[in-house]
Symmetry: C2
Subunit: 215 residues, 2 copies
Amino acid sequence: MINRQTYRDHVIEYVCSLMRNGQLQPGDKVRESGLAADLGVSRAPVREAVRHLVGEGLLDYRPQVGSIVANLSPQQIIDSYVARGLLEGFAIADSGKQFSVAARQELRQLCELMETSAADGDDEALVDVGARFHRLLYGRTANQQLLENIERLSNKLHLLFYRHWANFYSPDQIRDRHHQLLELVFKGDEWAVEQGFRQHYIETGRKVAALYTTE
Amino acid sequence: MINRQTYRDHVIEYVCSLMRNGQLQPGDKVRESGLAADLGVSRAPVREAVRHLVGEGLLDYRPQVGSIVANLSPQQIIDSYVARGLLEGFAIADSGKQFSVAARQELRQLCELMETSAADGDDEALVDVGARFHRLLYGRTANQQLLENIERLSNKLHLLFYRHWANFYSPDQIRDRHHQLLELVFKGDEWAVEQGFRQHYIETGRKVAALYTTE
DNA sequence: TCCCTGGCAAATGTCGACATTCGACACTTG
DNA sequence: CAAGTGTCGAATGTCGACATTTGCCAGGGA
């Protein structure tokens, strides 16, 4: 038994799945009693799970009132993507290590895979490949503290907005944008890498934010 | 009633004060029952406080076993300072706004105040002034998401290591190091600002880490 | 002597219930 | 009719107790 699972973890996963399913949308109230009833557990582990998700930024919390699914303003959306670009760009630039030929090939193949997934309209696969692509890059950093922050932000943006970003670019654009990132990384100019990733994410952030402006 | 205080918040503050007092040191076990008994409350709010502090990175947590005060490895210490330098440097460079004459004067005065505090051996005042100095700089960012991450890291490093950094530099050095940061900021070269703050923090991080290496 | 094993104590995980607070709705009043 | 107010329901905050797991230590065997 490597990792003992506690009820709290089940609740966390359950809430995340509700967010992925769309059954929980930004602004929706999250009632502890409801979750407890759904899963047949008491409110104690539910409260811990909710508090954890609040800490992750996935839920907003008001004392004595309760929690709602985080409802980021357009500016907050952009800000989150900016922060992610900053962290991920640095993590990649700072990792320093060279990419093996095999690793380069794998990353390039992922770009192609993104294009075919996008062309097939398989958004789920596209998002998944995109996540693998980025993780392969920033995951090379030896800085665990940085990694924690990146994954927190990454997970937050993924759960809140993964639905959308597949629709902002044509299959060609998706492939090309990520190919360009790769070339920056392989070239080894750290400053260019950081700027490139910042730009990559701020563009996506602006597009996502645009969807949430005054509807 | 602006901000209703709940027991959980009291517990958080209590644990932080224990860490500041040195009654809780890195590696020490944090028993929920003990805290509950100390404060005369039940374990429920204590658990929430502990979980919050785990999320902040101040405590390490092992399921079914308990929590201990975070005991960062030398590398993790450096990594944390690197991350803070990255975030703070960007926040300052990206805020873009000009500093008023009064603001510049205040910041320069804080540098001098750091020197006098250091010369007087008043570490508490020195650390406090240092915190105000840095907050005045990074607090100008409009990016709330960034700010949250900075303050989380800042608070973590402050609580775990505020004891030490006052002793790494002479009063003159402290003043000069911060004056140099100010000149970078006032000059407005964003890239130089980012690099400067990264360097500032990585140096401190290395010195702190050195204290925790194989004693 | 060392290792394994079994049980004991203590800490965490979970539960159900009660207390407290907030938000909403209907009612009163000017 | 609008504004303020009182009450009620529901959700959160807290509590004490029980269940379960972990780490430790004593005891026995090789």
